[in-house]
Amino acid sequence: METHRLPTELVIFILGLPFAGCLFHALFGGWLVRVLGERAGKWLVGAVGTGVVFAALWLSIVLLQTMLNLPEEARRANHTLADWLAIGSVHVPFEFIIDPLSVLMCLVVTGIGGLIHLYATGYMAEDTDYPRFFTYFNLFIFFMLTLVLAGNFLVMFIGWEGVGLCSYLLIGYFYRNADWKYNTDSANKAFIVNRIGDLGFLLAMFIILVIFGSLSFEEVNKRAAEVLGVGTGIATAVALLLFLAATGKSAQLPLYFWLPDAMAGPTPVSALIHAATMVTAGVYLLTRVHPLFEIAPAAMVVVAVVGAFTAIFAASIALGQTDIKRVLAFSTVSQLGYMFLACGVGAFWVGMFHVATHAFFKALLFLGAGSVLIALHHRGDIRQMGGLRRYLPITAATMVVGLLAISGFPPFSGYWSKEAILLSAYGSRLTEWIPLLFWIGIATALLTAFYMTRLTWLVFFAPSFASASTHTGGETPPGHAPGRERYWVVLGVLIVLAIGSTLFGWVLPSETDIHEFLKPVATPVHLGSEMLGESEAGKVLVTGAALLAALLGLGLGIARYRVGMPPRETQLQGLWGVLHRQWGYDGAMRWLGVQLGGAFAWVIGVLIEGLIDGLVDLVGVLTRELGNLVRGLQSGYVRSYALMMMLGALIMLIVAFIYGWR
């Protein structure tokens, strides 16, 4: 190919296709289903919905190929769609950035996204609101691509808010179900918690706008050190605010607790939004503006510590969960913690690498779980499962691949990225100060292997529910026998993802390929190599420890759950109960929320009814009492209002004379 520049115009199409799809479903979807009939209409909607995403994938691949043919310094380009806003001297164009980072994310979003769309055509086949689902789904892809392609903070913020909106809409998707209350509450929870994070984003954006006079990533990254200064308070503040935004979106401590409840949405939603793409936006944000973090070492420490702690915290909670999707949700939180750990020690490219591998195997696991749920008529309690490999052989096989990948067994994709994370954590200067970080990583690896083994074993290999039901007392056994694997798209997608999870990271793009590819955009510019030491001796130790941990986890898991879940655990007694209740964190947050809400309501009550109305009442009472005394009259509201106005006028006059009279 003879191009010497990137075909940046492709951005319009990459973004436009999913948006067009969304419009198509919104405008014609319902009509098509009515006119063409259930079957053909749904087929068309599904085909269009999936088609546009795959078309966007194809364009992204074109972009990638062009990029690979260019020299490293030419791999970065901006595409300005329009001059958008002018605030004083500051211009904020509608710009997009095309560089290895955004292209990688595009590929993940459209690739995994396309597969999950395809899967959804099967999974959602019996849904009555099929077009609405694809409307939201395509809209999500559009906003996610806006987020990753954004060339400045404001455009990214639009995507950031947009994916939040879609997430909200899709969590509450089953608002017509019997448990709509739980679904809508979960959606609201996600929405509210995310607003806290957004506040961080907004504040950071405003500070940057005021200080830099620009919102462009390129300019902010370039001038970060000189404008903010290394290690200054303001640099730390900006970085921490952005990290707050990331913790909200990526479900890290202290804002993780919306994600498990977000599993109320349909499974493809959980796979796409709450596992593979949207929740990784935080990691992407950190990588995108990594110079801002590098000049704030304190913030980096916070990122690493929060990441590591979230990783082990969520992994431990996953042990005590009984719902198949909630286990995977906590696993996602934990894996995201790994990514932040990588970013925190300065290995941004490793974080992105894990984003990519995680997208594969977590999507695989979720979709496998979805396949299980289809068969079990959407009952997700793993205590009531078992022996499903007979009914769902392909699902079982692919889930095992997912298990091996997430646990970090070579040569599956998880191994490469997890090892890279542990290696960078081990070698970093930070770990010299806080050696615990590395060992937390190893411990998390052990826990990960353990809880994933627990899940897989209990679902597919343990003795079937019939024999285990004695433990659950009087609960009604499932009314139907498990169904078979029915939808070929579901199985096809599972197999493709399983192949991806197996090969990614060592065959097609190997670890070094990705490192090379991301080097120009994710290499620390301010941190010296002292932060990122690598040693051969370390490598052996790290690989050994990680493999040992994974093997140990696998072994312990099989040993413990060989014959099914022990009764104490089934009834959630002791430690299992504590873990099931998320160490009490969710409860505490709920309590805090209720208390805060209560306190807030109380304050408002006092403020409004007590203070403001009280003032009016007081004034009213005063006049009434006066009036009563004199003429036996009663107060009227018109008079109270007039009195307020009068008092306001008097105060204004006094203030005017105090301040204005010369």
Binding site: V638, R639, L643
Partner: protein, 106 residues
Amino acid sequence: MTAVPASAYLTLAAFLFAIGAAGVLIKRNPIVIFMCIELMLNAVNLTFLTFALHQPNLQAQVAGHVFVLFVIGVAAAEVAVGLGIIVVIFRLRETIDVDSVSLLRE
């Protein structure tokens, strides 16, 4: 120049205005309240006229007088509308006590 200083008129007008405002605050019959508002408007008219007396040129003097006419016109229109509303309320409620008119609150 008249013997009575301008400040006297102005003070009188201010008193009238204040009395009107006080009346709005303590009366409960809307017609009386409305009369108090008329009193305030007329206090303003007095103010206009007083100031008009002391304007240097004819243009500005006439302006003050014209304003008074405007205010009278507006006041008349207000009376018409106000009485209309009060009549309708009476027909509905058979009372015009402003204090009993308090369905709308929260």
